[in-house]
Homo-oligomer: 349 residues x 4
Amino acid sequence: MKKLEVGILGATGMVGQRFISLLEHHPWFEVKWLAASERSAGKNYGEACNWRVRDPMPKAAAELPVNECKPGKAPQLVFSSLDSKVAGEVEKEFAQAGHVVVSNSSNHRMDADVPLLIPEVNPDHLALARLQRVERKWKGMIVTNPNCTAVGLVMSLAPLERAFGLEKVMMTSMQAVSGAGYPGLPTLDIIGNVIPFIGGEEEKVERETRKLLGRLKDGRVELGNFVVSAHCNRVLVEDGHTESISVALRSAAKVEDLIDAWRKWHARPQELHLPSAPKHPIIVREERDRPQVKFDVGSENGMATVVGRVRPCPVLQFKYTALSHNTVRGAAGAALLNAELMKAEGYLD
Amino acid sequence: MKKLEVGILGATGMVGQRFISLLEHHPWFEVKWLAASERSAGKNYGEACNWRVRDPMPKAAAELPVNECKPGKAPQLVFSSLDSKVAGEVEKEFAQAGHVVVSNSSNHRMDADVPLLIPEVNPDHLALARLQRVERKWKGMIVTNPNCTAVGLVMSLAPLERAFGLEKVMMTSMQAVSGAGYPGLPTLDIIGNVIPFIGGEEEKVERETRKLLGRLKDGRVELGNFVVSAHCNRVLVEDGHTESISVALRSAAKVEDLIDAWRKWHARPQELHLPSAPKHPIIVREERDRPQVKFDVGSENGMATVVGRVRPCPVLQFKYTALSHNTVRGAAGAALLNAELMKAEGYLD
Amino acid sequence: MKKLEVGILGATGMVGQRFISLLEHHPWFEVKWLAASERSAGKNYGEACNWRVRDPMPKAAAELPVNECKPGKAPQLVFSSLDSKVAGEVEKEFAQAGHVVVSNSSNHRMDADVPLLIPEVNPDHLALARLQRVERKWKGMIVTNPNCTAVGLVMSLAPLERAFGLEKVMMTSMQAVSGAGYPGLPTLDIIGNVIPFIGGEEEKVERETRKLLGRLKDGRVELGNFVVSAHCNRVLVEDGHTESISVALRSAAKVEDLIDAWRKWHARPQELHLPSAPKHPIIVREERDRPQVKFDVGSENGMATVVGRVRPCPVLQFKYTALSHNTVRGAAGAALLNAELMKAEGYLD
Amino acid sequence: MKKLEVGILGATGMVGQRFISLLEHHPWFEVKWLAASERSAGKNYGEACNWRVRDPMPKAAAELPVNECKPGKAPQLVFSSLDSKVAGEVEKEFAQAGHVVVSNSSNHRMDADVPLLIPEVNPDHLALARLQRVERKWKGMIVTNPNCTAVGLVMSLAPLERAFGLEKVMMTSMQAVSGAGYPGLPTLDIIGNVIPFIGGEEEKVERETRKLLGRLKDGRVELGNFVVSAHCNRVLVEDGHTESISVALRSAAKVEDLIDAWRKWHARPQELHLPSAPKHPIIVREERDRPQVKFDVGSENGMATVVGRVRPCPVLQFKYTALSHNTVRGAAGAALLNAELMKAEGYLD
C-alpha cells in the first residue's frame, strides 16, 4: 500500500520533532512536507532544527526543505504543532484551502464545530468536523487533541463516567518540564523547586475535560454534567505528568469496580487496530507506590495511561494516581492517533 | 539569666542535627546532654554523628558525649526525634522518670492525653499534658508536634476554621526528600521521578489535622468537625513541602476574606514573643506563581507558612497553595516552639 | 542449539539485576540458577529482589529460587556481581570447585594469573586463565572485567596506544549515581551537589588501565609503560560516566589521526560477531558539545564508548571527552561480553 | 562617612541583580543609578527586572528608574555586567566620558592596558589602569575581573606560584548552571546530563590564568611562564564551580607544603580589611570528600576558595579539588572587591 503523504506545521519545535520521530517508520503515513517559522523557512530541516529528541533525527527528514506555513503545496493531511500565537489563523487558512489539519494546538479546541478528540473516549465527536464544511464552507477541516494534562485525566475518567456517572473531579498535577517546550523552562527556575502555576493550564483542563466527556447531540457537544477543579504544578521531571485525582461518582461502586472498569476498557482504536493504539489503553498497577514516571511513563510506547493507588477518598469518593506521557500521549502521539482514526473512519479518502 | 539545660534523644539523626543547629545560640535553652542508639553511645558527638546540616556542627556539641537513651542523668527538658520504632517506649520511660519530653516522633501524637501542638493554632491543648500526671501517674509528660505535612496545612487552615468554619479539606502534597531522613531516599528512586506514595503519611495528615483543629472540652479533644483527604507525593526537592489545597467553608466568604484572615492572624507565640516564633506566622504572596520552594522556604527562618494563588475551586469552594519548611517548621523548629510555649506558660518551672 | 545454562552470584543487587535483564533473550546463555546473600536465600527471586531496572523483571527469573552462594548445583558458567566484602572468598571457592567465574567484582582483578579483560582491547590476556589451573590447581577459573570508569577510558585509549604509543594519561570523571549500587547514594548527598571523591576509585582506574593495556609476555602481564592520573567525581546523573581526558603520545599525530584510529578500530568481538559486541566499539561524534549522557549513553545498547571534542592539549598533547554506560559496558554487559568471548574461544566447552 | 554613589550597567541581568543584592548594605557604596537595555529603560527597576535572587529585591533599588546605557548622569563609579555583545563599546564610551568602569564582562580583560584583577593575587596590576589615561586619553578607566572558572583556579594557584613556581596546570571544571545567566540553560538540556562544552570558556581560562599570574614589568604584564589546559563541563548544580586540578611546580614541595602555603596566604584585601574580603581567602578542608558545593559554596559569604583532597599526581606532581562560588566570587563579588581595592588605593578620589 502506498503511504499517505503528510505535512507538519511547526516542524522544528519539540512536538514537531516528536511527530517526525513517531512517523519515521509509520505503516500508513510518510512525512513529505515540513513548515516552520520564517526564520527556518528556506533551510533544510537538518540545518533548521535544533533536534532534542534522544533518538537521532531520521535521515529522510533531515533532507526535506522547510517551507513557510502557507497552504498550497502541502499534502492533504497536515499535523500542526504551531505555537498558539499563530496557530489560530494558520490552521484556519489550511482548512479553508482544503487541508485536513490534525492539530495539537489549543486555539480551536473549544470551537463548537471542532472535534476535541481522544479516540478511546469520544470517537463519535469526529462527526462534528463535517459541520465545518457546511457552516464555514471549508473544503478541509480542523481536528484537535486535548491539552497534555487533560489526556491522562480523561483517559482515566472515561471508563468511570461510562460505568458509574461522574459528579465531581479534583485533580492536582505534577507536570514534566517538556510540557513547556524548548527552550522552555530555565534550569534556574526549577532546580530544587516546585512551581505551583502554569499559565492557562488549569482552565484548559477544567473545560476540555467536560467537552471530551460530553455527549454529541443534535450536532453539538453537550458538556459533561460534572464539575472539575485542577491544581497544576511543575516539577523536575523530563517527561510524564503525574496526577493525584479524587472523584465522586453518580452511582454506587467499590474500589474493585473501578479497577474492573479500567481493565475492561477496550475502545474504538483497539477494535480498529490503529497502528499507534496501545493494546491496553489503561494499565492498572497494584503496587502501593505506582505509577511512577521512572518505571511507567514508557508503557505501551508512551500511549497508555497508567493508574494506581485506588482507594476511598474521605472528601469525594475515590482517589487514585494517574500517569501519562505528556509529549507522546499528550501531544504528538495523540494527534497521530486522531489521524489514524480519521483514516480508518474514511475521513482521509 | 541562666539558660535551661536540655537534652536530645536521637541526636545523631537528621532532626536531631537540626535541633542542635537551631539551639546553638538559643536565648533560653542550652544543649547539655545527648543520646542516640547503642551504636553511637560512648563516643563523642563529633565522632558519632555524620553531620549533614549545611552550617557546621557547633563546637560545643561536638565535644559532648553521646549517651544511651536512658533517663536519669538527662536534664528535665528533653527533645525527642527518635525513630518511631523505639520512640514509643523510650519516651514513656522518660516521662515516667520525670522528664518533659517534647517530641517530634509520631508514636504518642494521637494519645488522648498527649497534646498535639502547634502554638499558633491550639496552645490551649497544652493543658492535656497535666492529665498524664493524674491518669498515668507520670512525674513528667509528653508533648508532641505534628507530622511535617500536617503543619503547613493546619497553619493555613486555622485562620479559616476560626473565621468561617471548615467543612471539607482536600490536600495534595509534593514533599521534599529530607522528610525521609538520612540516608533516606536513594537517589536512584527519585531522580527524574515522582513517587506517589509515602508510607503512613496520608493517614497521619488526615487524623492529625482534625485533632489539631479540634476543641478542648472536658479534658478531651473533640476532633474537628470536617473531613480531610490527603494525597502525598515525593518530589526532587531538598527541603520544603508544597501543598495544593482545596477547602469548603461553613460560612460565606470571598477570596479577599481568606487573605484578610491569614494576614491578620496573630497568635499566642507572637503575643508571648517566643524566640523562635515567626513575626508573621502566615505570609500571603500575591504573585501568580508563588509560593515557591526556591524563594519562600526560608521565610522567617523557615518558621512561616507561605500561601498564595487563592482562587475559587469549582468542586469545593476555594483553592490555594501552601508551602512549609519540613525539617524546621515541620520537625525540630516545631518542637522547639512547643518547648518555648511551655516555658512561657510555666510548664518548665 | 541448546543454550548454555548460567548462574548469577549476587543476583539481587543492581548489577545482578542488569545481568538478568541483559540475559533475558540471549541467544547463547540462559539463566537457570541464582544466588544471593543469606537474607534472600530460600525465597523466589520475585520476592527476594527489589527490582530497580526500568524494564520489567523477566517472568522466568521471577520464579527461580534464590540459593546460597555455595558451589555444587550451580552451572559451570557463573556470573558474579557479589559485594567485594565477600566476592574474594566466594569466587575462589567456585573456581576451585570447577566453575568458570566471570566476575564484575574488583577483588581478583589485579591477581597476576587472573585475566582483567576487555574483549576489544586485550583478548589475548584470556590465556592467563589457564595458569590458574596449573598454579592454583583449580578446576575452574576466574575472569574479570574492569572498573566502570576504567572501561570507557581504556576503550578510548587502546586504539591510540596501538597506533602511537601512550606516555601520559590524565582523566577526570563525572560519574553517575548508579555506579554506587542500590540503595547507594542518598539523595540528600548529591542533589544540587558534586562529590569529589569515590572511595578506591582513582586507585582502581590508575592500576587497571595499565594492566589492561599491558602486554602478555612469558605468561605474565607487563604493565603498560605509561602513567595515569585519575580524578573521580560523582554528579547527579543516573547512568553514564563522562570523562575529560588528556593524553601524551609517543609518536607524532594529528587530531585527524586520532579520529581515524578510533573509527577504524575493529577488534576481536566484532570479528567473532559476539552477540553483545557493539558494531562500532567507538563512536566519534563531531558536534562541538558531544558526547552527552542524554543523547549518547544508550549508543549500541550501551556497549559503545562515545568520544568527541578531540583537540590539542597545551599541557599534554591531546584532549577529548569520552562517555561510557557504567552499568552496561562498565559492569554486567562487560562480563557478558567476556563470557561470549570465552565461549567463542573454546573456554566453555 | 557619606557613601560613594555607584551605578550599574546591565542591572536587570543575573549578575546585575547580584550587584544590587551585595550592595544593599554596603558600608562604602550606595546604588543610585541603574541602566539596562532599551527594553527596560524608562521603567522602574521593580517593573523592569525579573528578580531571580533568593533574597528579596531591595526596596530602594525597586524604585530607581532604569536608564539607557549612556554616560552623563551616571556616577563616577559604574559596575558593568553587560552582555559581551554590547559591553565592549559601552564600557569604552563610559571610560572616555570619565567613569571608572569596574567590569565583569570579558571584552576588555585581555587588553594590554586593562587590569585583569583578583585583589588577593595581583593588586599591583591595578597600576595598568593609569596607562589608559595616557595612551587612550581617557578621563576614566576600565578594570576587569576574570571569568568565573578562572577565579577559583587562580586563587588556588597563586600561593603555589609564589612559593614554588608553576610549570603546568591541568583543570577540569564541573560548572554550575547559573554561570550561563538567565534564562540561560534550558532544563531539558541539563536534567540528568553533563554537557562537556561551554563556548569560549576553556580559552578564557587558559589565557586569563596566565595574565592574572603574570608579572607587571615596564608597564606591561608578562604572561605567567607556565602552560594551562582546561576542560570545561556543565553539571546540574545551581551555584558553585568544582574544579579537579593537577599541577607541576618548579621547585620541590610536599603535600603539607602546599597546605601550608594556602593556609598562610594572607593578601592585600585582608591587610586593607576591605569590606567584602574573606577573612580566609583560601580554606583547606581535610575531610577526604570535600570541598562540596552543598557544604562549602557559601564559605565566607561565597568569597573564599575552598580546596581539598591534595595528593600526589602520577602525571604532573600534585592534584587537588577547588570550589568557588561562580556568581559571587566569580562575578559580582569579584568586581565589588576590585572596586573596594581601588577605593582603598586612592583610585576613586
